[in-house]
């Protein structure tokens, strides 16, 4: 049997049941820098294909550019802080392990639940947008909601099956799809450049007269979608070869690649359309989930079916690459929470031969499918899913940086393998920018704060009334925290 994953403690120090639990719940470690880069870029690249365009509604391109650069800075600093945490604690649980070790299981659950919600809603939004692109390809004039739903469901089934097959195989698929997704954006830039005008980007007035700088604040929640979910890479640390090398390099290069993609996609999308508002809503006032295809279909070169269908086909690589990575993140978080006893234990089981979390993958797929079908009755489902995903992400970014501060003080040797640069300024910037982004949610039209609060209430109720006394003491995150505590208690 292949148990490639190094384990978090010496097996000799454990009882037979704990040894058996760790061996039965371990993952392979095949991922290298290119895999981590591809996972980082691939999982996020859907942000270039849809979601960000909703920020243009009543705000204009300049406000979106400023908001986008603020978001880019947030994520650049965040991936560096995250690298430090994920190298120190290379567990599939990611935030669960950070909160568990820094404070207690309750914080671990809140952080793990936050990331689960972030990834789950991002998966839902991306499945819907993938269906939206396919529906647009089939009938550009009148994309059918039924085609969108069936295409989204097919995407869910295919990629759940692929990930159940094995992580190395899905990693190779991820690299190929990421290249395809980047190629799709290059094709888009080239096509959009044929109708480009600086006057459409550098508008007059620069910001809407009635909103002024509030336009930038209103654009930020949607612009977070450009880059949200890159932290999925932290969950791959348990499956990464030499995580202290592969995680920081893969994350930094991935983030820099994405910043270039963000700026160029914004530039050409806004510069090609006569009115950038048309990228956010259609004539009936519905949110658009296929903005890049909309640009191609609206400019003169889009009269050629080859341009519309050729781009639309390649664009699907971007959507499915991200969907693939998001499903990875959602399932690994559900797996870690299940393995630790924070969610039902069956979620923490792995396939005996392939070592993939089958139950977690299947459960995430079913939840995604239910929400995809519900889209038939909720027209702004994509916007809501995008906003819940980004808001729950911000919550755990702030908590994770708090854990980083606590652990740096209490267990400085833990970070011997990798230390992020700008030791004080960098985490402070993450907290500041995340707090700033959370603040602006109060001003946007789509109210997602009550729904998000309800989801937290559901999770916390389950934790307090059922899971709390049943936490699995042999899970790697628990063993790591217990060992740290016994070491600190034993030291003079």
């Amino acid at each position: 049997m292949d148990h490639g994953a190094p384990l978090p403690v010496e097996l000799g120090a454990l009882g037979p049941e704990e040894k058996a639990f760790l061996v039965e719940h371990s993952l392979k470690r095949p991922l290298r820098v290119l895999d981590i880069w591809a996972l980082g870029v691939g999982v996020v690249i859907t942000g270039e294909y849809f979601g960000w365009n909703l920020a243009l509604k009543n705000n204009g391109p300049v406000a979106v550019l400023v908001a986008s650069l603020i978001v880019c800075l947030l994520y650049l600093t965040w991936v560096l802080a995250l690298s430090e945490l994920s190298v120190a604690m290379p567990f599939a649980g990611g935030p669960l392990a950070y909160g568990r070790r820094a404070v207690d299981p309750s914080l671990g659950f809140v952080m793990g639940w936050s990331m689960f919600l972030e990834c789950q809603f991002a998966t839902i939004a991306t499945a819907l947008a993938t269906g939206g692109y396919i529906a647009f390809l089939i009938d550009p004039a009148h994309p059918s909601p039924m085609v969108q739903v069936w295409s989204a469901l097919a995407t869910v089934v295919i990629f759940c099956a692929l990930q159940i097959w094995g992580v190395k195989e899905q990693s190779l698929a991820m690299v190929i799809m990421t290249y395809g997704a980047i190629l799709g954006l290059v094709v888009f830039w080239c096509l959009a450049a044929t109708n480009f005008s600086w006057g459409r980007v550098w508008t007059s007035p620069l910001l809407p007269a009635e909103k002024g700088w509030r336009a930038v604040l209103d654009a930020i929640p949607y612009c977070l979608w450009w880059l949200v979910i890159i932290e999925t890479v932290a969950l791959a640390a348990e499956e990464a070869h030499e995580p202290h090398r592969t995680i920081p390099r893969g994350l930094v290069w991935g983030q820099l690649t994405l910043i270039v993609l963000v700026v160029l996609t914004w530039l050409f999308a806004c510069g090609a359309m006569d009115n950038s508002q048309q990228l956010a809503v259609d004539a009936q006032g519905h949110d658009i989930s296929y903005p890049l295809a909309k640009v191609i279909g609206s400019i003169p070169i889009g009269r050629s079916p080859l341009a519309v269908y050729g781009f639309g086909f390649i664009a699907l690589f971007g959507m499915i690459a991200s969907f693939h990575g998001m499903l990875f993140g959602t399932s690994r978080q559900a797996f870690a929470l299940g393995r630790g006893g924070y969610l039902p234990a069956f979620l923490g089981t792995v396939h005996p031969r392939r070592r993939t979390p089958v139950a977690a993958l299947a459960s995430c797929g079913v939840i995604t499918a239910i929400f995809v079908v519900a889209n038939l009755w909720f027209s702004d489902a994509v916007a809501i899913a995008v906003l819940i995903s980004t808001l729950t992400a911000l919550v755990w970014y702030v908590l994770a940086v708090g854990c980083l501060y606590v652990l740096r003080q209490r267990e400085p040797k833990m970070f011997g393998n990798y230390r992020a640069p700008l030791v004080r300024a960098l985490p402070a910037t993450v907290v500041l920018l995340s707090g700033f982004a959370i603040y602006v949610y109060s001003g946007i039209d789509v109210k997602v704060v009550p729904l998000t609060a309800f989801l937290y209430a559901v999770g916390l109720s389950y934790y307090w009334f059922w899971a709390h006394p049943r936490i699995q003491t042999a899970a790697p995150e628990e063993l790591s925290a217990r060992r740290a505590r016994s070491t600190s208690e034993g030291s003079p």
């Binding site: 190094p6 384990l7 978090p8 403690v9 010496e10 097996l11 000799g12 300049v62 550019l65 400023v66 650069l69 603020i70 880019c72 800075l73 650049l76 600093t77 560096l80 120190a88 604690m89 290379p90 567990f91 007035p205 620069l206 910001l207 002024g212 700088w213 509030r214 930038v216 604040l217 202290h244 090398r245 920081p248 390099r249 930094v252 290069w253 820099l256 910043i259 267990e411 040797k413 833990m414 011997g416 393998n417 990798y418 230390r419 992020a420 640069p421 700008l422 004080r424 300024a425 960098l426 402070a428 910037t429 500041l432 920018l433 700033f436 603040y439 790591s480 060992r483 740290a484 070491t487």
Partner: protein, 86 residues
């Protein structure tokens, strides 16, 4: 069989240690990040009090903010890339 990974205290090969960024570059990056923080606070103020603390024109304000954010991105990128090199 004894498999081991010490995630808390594992020793590191000296060749694996990241190169320390230049102090001047780090100082510049930290200073620009501080200026970004000030700029965000200013942005919130002028978003709700449009008559307060305004510069010469909206164009100057937008260019100043874009320049500051671009400088922050470039400096943090430079620091991060040096930090991940062998």
């Amino acid at each position: 069989m004894t498999k081991t990974i010490d995630t808390a205290h594992s020793a590191t090969d000296a060749s694996d240690k990241p190169r320390r960024p230049a102090p001047l570059l780090e100082w510049l990056a930290a200073t620009v990040l501080l200026l970004v923080a000030v700029a965000l606070a200013w942005m919130i103020v002028v978003a709700y009090r449009p008559d307060w603390l305004r510069l010469a024109s909206l164009k100057v304000e937008v260019l100043a903010i874009l320049g500051l954010l671009t400088a922050a991105l470039l400096l943090v990128s430079a620091v991060a890339l040096r930090n991940t090199r062998d």
